[in-house]
Symmetry: C2
Subunit: 235 residues, 2 copies
Amino acid sequence: MTKPEKKTWQGVRAEVQRRIRTRAWKPGDAIPFEADLAREFGCARATVNRALRDLAEAGLLERKRRSGTRVALHPTGRAVLDIPLIRKEVEAAGQRYDYELLARSGSPAPPHVAKGMERRDAPHLVHVVALHRADGRPHVLEDRWIDPETVPDAAAADFHAKSPNEWLLENVPFTRSELSIHALSVDPQTAELLDVAPGAAILALDRATWLEERPVTFVRLMHDTGHVIRSSITA
Amino acid sequence: MTKPEKKTWQGVRAEVQRRIRTRAWKPGDAIPFEADLAREFGCARATVNRALRDLAEAGLLERKRRSGTRVALHPTGRAVLDIPLIRKEVEAAGQRYDYELLARSGSPAPPHVAKGMERRDAPHLVHVVALHRADGRPHVLEDRWIDPETVPDAAAADFHAKSPNEWLLENVPFTRSELSIHALSVDPQTAELLDVAPGAAILALDRATWLEERPVTFVRLMHDTGHVIRSSITA
DNA sequence: CAGTGGTCTAGACCACAGC
DNA sequence: CTGTGGTCTAGACCACTGG
């Protein structure tokens, strides 16, 4: 190989990336061992390790003990989505944020909620519906269900002042969370709340969270038509 | 603090996470310096560094030179989406994969393509339309545009044997890629190809990629109704 | 059971942001 | 200028896995 590098782990990563990009190392190929690369680059093995680990996390390399490191056959792209507070998201876009509590009650979990929380029964949950606005226009309809057994404080929380979105994030820790993204045709009732045409296609984000094995909350965020989730892909 | 840990970086991370979760260290608080934690845990500073760096990447901590490390105010969740080959995705679901090239031509980029590729003109591109099936049923409609100036081989590529999705991934490296996810009401023509009701809500993924500053390709993947993108959130 | 990546250590120097 | 995180080194041991 023709091009050594600076002895920083970013330098090593850049050089390895270059060799993959220029096909000096082809998909499926085994690349030299850490120790050999360290010698070639004139740096410590730990430095090479750091660089290769980073590329493996990005999906460009596949590493196995004993058998060594290979260039990934299909560089499976990985997109990282930031899931900010809705308020922050709106403010970051330079728009005026506005929030309104629409309903609050208690009721048994409907099927899609029970399923999202991985429960086969239909537990009694706190149900909160809230609307987030951007520059006065409906932006996100938050349909949230909270398990009062895991979050007893939810009954007393003042969701007029702070959205459940924000209140939960600040007051209830969680250990696991599942996200699913899908497209929905809005039903007439939701359409009116969001001020969109009935039957329009909207983006819905379902998110369920747990604290250890105890369910915390399930929320469906229904976005205004035309909403787009953006991300750059690390590769 | 009451609970030291194993001297592995995962052990340190677990303990720090526990202190955050139990609110021993509250959001916004500064936590002890690396050197102090290393002494407390009886391990090397590098080990503490590894653990704290990991938590910072996950968004739980905010680190600054000189001023130290703080617990993040709003643990902004981060979802990692894997973007696999469509073929792999179908096969992973245990379904039979099937692929058909529907059309291939050359034409000027329509507005949404030019915009996605960050161009103000309407360059002449290779246009390929292909259908991916799962168990015989339409799964994804691939509407792809390739810049022949960046990818001269595209003209000669055999898209009957391999989908452009797969061919590009194996033959053309890229350095940057942007993803956007949105919901669409399918137009009648697309509805017929996907075998869904006209006007149904579907999930569309737009992806543009570049090699250095040169545009490579833009693709819109239109999914079958009911398709869901899933991910677990690291926090 | 041997080889390769995964990790820990103790020490050192550097870069950058507050003071 | 000083202190804190960021990184590098050289060496060591461990864990997993493929032959």
